[in-house]
Symmetry: C2
Subunit: 325 residues, 2 copies
């Protein structure tokens, strides 16, 4: 491809295939003004001496401040700092307002709650076309167990670690005549759901409750007063429903009671029972977070929410006031 044909937009897009973290780099200008900007051009260079680098556009308003700074700090942002990333990516003033800066080894602003921070001595600058390459010696650093924010193809992203251990579910490789295998998303979702529910069963079995009762009590925990018909609009998509026999059973167990006009609500026992279920579900989730890591579980939830959005058959909003009386 001749230089003349070089398509800048396509070039940027191709560069976007290379995934990066997101950093904020800060320094203090000679007049004492704090400066800072979002950069994903950070990278490590050397372990001994400990060097890192990043690039700054020559057109940046902060070029002089960084050139003259004796120190600058690199903040590797966590998933929770996406707003901060946007703020420091803009040209706005007062980027630092509302941030409780911490004390570092230099006058360079030090932002809290990052995945990692590197406090650096500004050592060398190299020319890099329309950018300047800053190389710094790391004088101090720290790290927190916060899932890092990620940038790919012009979008923020989260990572799910590919574990070193094998994740195959079956000891057998999929036989060619098999019409489906463990890679089918529907199978994986069903198995995940039922295995999580299986862990709930001990609690449900103790109370002789079926899945449909568990789901019904959970809905009534949010939507406090419902007719059975209204209750079933929330259950319908699960294939479960509450029939007359179920209502009798739940009333006999003193978990729900009838008010006027065919409207039902949880009894205090029913509410306590449902809260116990939800506490159990949260405990199961906490166990998983301990095993899979909070970053992975967060990414899993995000993707499930996107899947739910894309496959929603138009369910009533469980948390809206409309359904409640």
């Amino acid at each position: 491809m001749a230089q003349a044909e070089f398509d800048n937009q396509a070039f940027r897009q191709a560069l976007g295939s290379f995934t990066t973290g997101v950093t904020i780099i800060t320094a203090t200008a000679p007049d004492g003004t704090p400066v800072g900007l979002t950069a994903n051009s950070f990278n490590s260079v050397s372990l001994d001496p400990p060097l890192v680098l990043w690039s700054l556009a020559k057109t940046s308003l902060s070029v002089e401040a960084f050139n003259k700074a004796e120190h600058w700090n690199v903040h590797v942002l966590s998933q929770h700092q996406q707003d901060l990333s946007n703020t420091f990516a803009s040209r706005g003033e007062d980027k630092f307002s509302g941030i409780e800066l911490e004390d570092g080894i230099s006058d360079a602003p030090l932002i809290p709650a990052c995945s990692a921070r590197f406090q650096c001595r500004n050592t060398v600058t190299h020319d890099g076309g329309d950018h300047l390459i800053f190389i710094g010696e790391v004088v101090d650093f720290d790290q927190q167990a916060l899932p890092p924010l990620v940038f790919q193809q012009g979008q923020y992203a989260m990572t799910a670690r590919k574990p070193w251990e094998e994740v195959a579910l079956s000891a057998q490789p999929a036989a060619p005549e098999c019409s489906y295998n463990e890679d089918l998303l529907g199978y994986l979702l069903g198995r995940s759901h039922f295995q999580m529910l299986y862990r709930m069963r001990k609690v449900l079995d103790e109370q002789a409750l079926e899945d449909s009762h568990f789901f019904a009590l959970s809905v009534m925990n949010i939507q406090h007063q419902l007719t059975i018909e209204e209750l079933n609009t929330h259950l319908d998509y699960t294939g479960h429903s509450i029939g007359e026999a179920d209502v009798k059973f739940l009333v006999a167990q003193e978990l729900i009671k009838e008010l006027d006009n065919d409207v039902y609500q949880l009894t205090p026992t029913g509410r306590e029972t449902s809260l116990h279920h939800i506490a159990q579900a949260k405990a199961i989730e906490e166990e998983l977070i301990a095993e899979l890591g909070s970053g992975d579980v967060m990414a899993l939830k995000l993707m499930l929410k996107r899947l739910i959005h894309k496959t929603d058959p138009g369910l009533p909003d469980l948390w809206s006031e409309q359904g409640a009386k």
Copy 2:
């Protein structure tokens, strides 16, 4: 922290918080030998002129080859190239064996099936402590729609894009008195599973089949001959089971038939029906891939498999020969 106390391992770990893609950089040595290595120190520098950089340990056996090369190529690896990444991260020889190299603008080896590739003229080298910083001018590049391989905290990872659109499921912010909200993993898994299943219902309803029948036929599609008791060991964790009435119904519908000794198998109609179900499940998955992107769905599946591993109550291996007769 004084320089003497600098903990190299902690420093590497903190650097690992900064997520990167994975690249293979290649060149041809003066004697014609192809050289290549895995690097995650790649980054873009400048758009005009188009410059990129990466760092190479001064102790690397390939230093001389890269120093003398007029060109080198950067390959941004895709999720499918993890093995290749490992190969080029080792010191082994014959790294290029089995790779069908493509023709580029120079003699530098060009590896196929990457997320993006940058063919560069070797322009400047800077000292970077124990590394050399190579800066190259991008002369040609290309990109493919393959999800990129990611590296974070010393592990390979996958990314799930954080969509710009809001992913909240409810129009209402979670009220403080709510005992659970849309962030509960168990709820998200259940809703995802049931919404996917809901899309199957049109097909199932046409045949008056219940969820348990669908699950049973799917199991019998893999494990061809089973007693009902054996079949139910595969269904038990779902809370579903096949009882006498179900067996009668499925036999009457000519979907399963009894062989000797209480052993059942699918009839040709039953097999065709199950294949139709699975084709439908695959079509639903394809629709989702089109909407969410193949990288995200791949990451979702990976995490579901890890969740399944961690929550497995000891289910029989559906795909193993043991259960089959």
